[in-house]
Subunit: 306 residues, 2 copies
């Protein structure tokens, strides 16, 4: 594991060195910089495509699995397929950050396709933090895809965050929920400079009494551009909620394009979106407390994305 | 004017015979069944395409213009272009209903393209009611297009209603708003049987301090299908709000696809959508007051679409 990977790991996974007493796989520039399995969580290399299989035994409780991916220099174009098989009744946390460092003129890119097969009554907390660093002029690109199938009574919470340094991202999430399954997504996104970000959620509520709750909060600064799409299809008795709140600053631009389809009389679907700048009165209030305008803006954005 | 036109006029414009002391044009199966101008409102036939020009003199106040269109028998495929030139500072009401009667096996269709050029500080109340009647098996189709440009300080309120009998409708509305202009749209839609309805609003908020407020309420019964699209582009300091509330019943299906784009830091845009069935507790409450389930449903829908 090189020094840049070490730095990126700390940023995306809050890890100092390799995790202890936990299953992990550290991906570095398309290779493996470290791996461990536990009795309950088995990580193996795929033989037909780049990537790993993560198998969590039924009933596994309280373990955390780390699978960070790092791109450490210019010109790397990484593509990985990671499949997660979560056994019935398991309850685990998966930390899957990605960092891209680019010191040169070429593009540095990570494309990660994560497929989740979540068993009956299993619970998954999935944490995904994306960051770009380095002084190069080459673009830092992260394109995550998350494909989820949640079996009866299963639950997944996905916390996905991209705070800074990523020049271009296309974030695709697809999910299908069986009976009584639930999916909660919390997205936080900040873009600046000339960056572009596209988010594209699509959830099929297929099983009776399934439900999803998608909330995206984003800030577009500089002349960055964001597009938020979300599709919720209610095919049976189910509940779906999607919300997109965006703050625009400077010359930033944001589009929100949610789509709700109720194809069953027992589907209850709701969406809200709001796009605007920071309210003047909020700024004024903080400035009367002694903050400069910039400090006040910073405080408000921190609160918004917390 | 034939008997069916007389009946349709009453349904869509609440007119008994021709209006008195008002400008009007009654369109019947592609022809003109009556026309009058007033000193301030001039109606003339177009020479290059089917339809009329309606010119409202600057400063005209308090007049109502009736321009209903009727299709009275099977096999008619009517297409009309009506242009409205509303002078600066005018304040008028336009009643533009459309009725399609079909007693036969062929399709009966009305396609109306209405273009509005609304002058500075002018105010327009635009009422549009659509209905299909007749015992024929041929489809009754109404496709209204409304193109609006509102000059500085102008205002338009559009009340558009389709209550029953229209088998297929594509409702397109496009608007561009200049400085301080406002557009308010209230749509009410009910579909039943095998009907389909598509609504497609798109508003460009181009002028500073322009604003729009679009609210659609709809009920989809039987195995009818509705798609609601709305696009609001905030290109400057402006406010935009769009809401879609839909009740589904039986095997009805509804999609809501709103799109907000803020391309200026001073654009404030909001959207909400909710799709679901009538709440059980609302039904129960009315039924404890002595109503049957069907009567209770009817009451709730009437309230919702009022």
């Amino acid at each position: 594991m090189n020094k840049i990977t070490e730095m990126l790991l700390e940023m995306v996974s809050e890890l100092s060195g390799v995790p202890k007493n936990a299953a992990y796989n550290i991906r570095e520039d398309g290779g493996c910089a470290g791996r461990a399995s536990t009795d309950n969580v088995r990580i193996t290399s795929k033989t037909d495509e780049p990537g790993i299989d993560i198998r969590v035994l039924p009933g596994t409780k309280g373990e955390t699995v780390y699978i960070p991916a790092c791109v450490t220099h210019t010109g790397v174009r990484d593509l990985v397929y990671n499949d997660f098989y979560i056994g019935d009744g398991a309850d685990i946390t998966i930390v899957a950050g990605c960092g891209v460092h680019n010191e040169g003129e070429e593009e540095a890119q990570h494309n990660g396709v994560h497929r989740f097969f979540i068993g009956k009554d299993a619970r998954v907390l999935y944490l995904e933090k994306h960051v770009g660093v380095g002084e190069g002029t080459g673009r830092r690109v992260i394109n995550p895809q998350t494909w989820v199938r949640i079996d009866e009574g299963g639950y997944m919470k996905m916390d996905t965050t991209q705070i800074k340094g990523v020049d271009s991202t296309k974030r695709i999430t697809r999910a299908e929920l069986m009976k009584d399954a639930r999916l909660v997504i919390r997205e936080k996104l900040m873009t600046h400079g000339e960056q572009t970000a596209e988010t594209d959620f699509s959830v099929d509520l297929t099983g009776e009494d399934s439900g999803c709750d998608l909330v995206s909060r984003s800030v577009a600064r500089g002349s960055s551009h964001q597009v938020f799409r979300s599709v919720i299809n209610g095919n049976t008795r189910c509940t779906g909620h999607s919300a997109c709140d965006a703050i625009i600053m400077d010359e930033g631009a944001v589009s929100a394009i949610p789509e709700l389809t109720a194809a069953s009389v027992d589907a209850a679907l709701i969406h809200e979106a709001a796009i605007g700048k920071i309210a003047g009165e909020q700024l004024t209030k903080l400035m009367t407390l002694g903050l400069t305008e910039q400090e006040a803006e910073q405080k408000i954005i921190e609160g918004f994305l917390k």
